[in-house]
Amino acid sequence: YPLDRSARDEDSNMDLLQDYLEKYYDLGKEMRQYVRRKDSGPIVKKIQEMQKFLGLKVTGKLDSDTVEVMHKSRCGVPDVGH
């Protein structure tokens, strides 16, 4: 059966989150297997770190505001870490 739209959106948001956290918030590549489990501690912590840095409500969840911000145009320099 074709994936229903929300499941496909969910998937692409997870890809976006993983790429965003790796690129701008020093998420190590070894954490990839955790990104799919959004409620896993390290990922929640990273999402909170991003939300705090960008001035969003700190929920630790991939809420719609956070997804919207991750789609915005921005500078390519990371926000934290090397």
Binding site: K52, F53, S73, C75, P78, D79, H82
Partner: protein, 378 residues
Amino acid sequence: FTTFPGMPKWSKTHLTYRIVNYTQDLPRDAVDSDVEKALKIWEEVTPLTFSRIYEGEADIMITFAVREHGDFFPFDGPGKVLAHAYPPGPGMNGDAHFDDDEHWTKDASGINFLLVAAHELGHSLGLYHSTNTEALMYPLYNTLKGPARVRLSQDDVTGIQSLYGPPPASPDSPVEPSEPEPPAPGTLAMCDPALSFDAISTLRGEILFFKDRYFWRKTFRTLVPEFHPISSFWPSLPSGIDAAYEVTSRDSVFIFKGNKFWAIRGNEEQAGYPRGIHTLGFPPTVRKIDAAIFDKEKQKTYFFVEDKYWRFDEKRQSMEPGYPKQIAEDFPGIDSKLDAAFESFGFFYFFSGSSQFEFDPNAKKVTHVLKSNSWFNC
């Protein structure tokens, strides 16, 4: 505001810039004037001054590029990443790259070039991103900001002045005689033929040469190493360390001083340290470590103390039986007291005073004798 890890900044106040190429979206003189305006914004609140050059290597090279453009950080087509820039330093450091897949405009109808240029040049001068949504150094592009509103927030001013101080007093106020600035110690000592090191370690593909309160950071991307205070990366590490080595499989560097050792991962200090060196299995008679090397192939670490050495099994996390052994016996040609050691591309490099010995562990012989600072391309 934040600055880049290690607080890199220009050690001179007069900087050069060069506009290497242009976007088709804007007239050339529009790009020229926007870059000038963007630099002026920073000039007005610091002692920095800028002059343009038209060929050769400037401190700040400004280019428009698309996708992969030679720095392993490819642009991503229209939208998302608009530009990026590198912190102060030689070579590519200080440069600013703009994604030419964007639609660059003088106003806010597309991507306002002046706004993005002012932000990226903030990076070129040493500022990192700010959490202040009003700041120029806030990382997200603000579609509402047009050219007339491109100016520094107080957060930006505080940030850049934390690196360079305020602009010189205006000409009509009495100028205090200023002490000549002492030359940066790193630049002078680096090529001193008598230079020796406290410790040397690799770290994620780079090589760190520790000396007193400082370290030289050698990356394969730049010829001239960077020079930083140890405390600017790792505030709780001591100065004048004895030994250091990287266990690549654990992405960790271990730093030794006296009978204690610390662990760092990138620029993060690991909790639970310092620990006593005797927890590694040294006898009480060992008070300090002279040098250490991690052998990636064997997953073993060699610790050198005076004329003897121990071997530590990183998998088992225990010192191997049958040690200490004489260094000269198993490392022929290495018979003076060691200051530092590290491994690179299968060779061990031992440092004693101003001399360095390249040792082939397979052939068990010294293959080259070099100056200790041969890695600095003096």
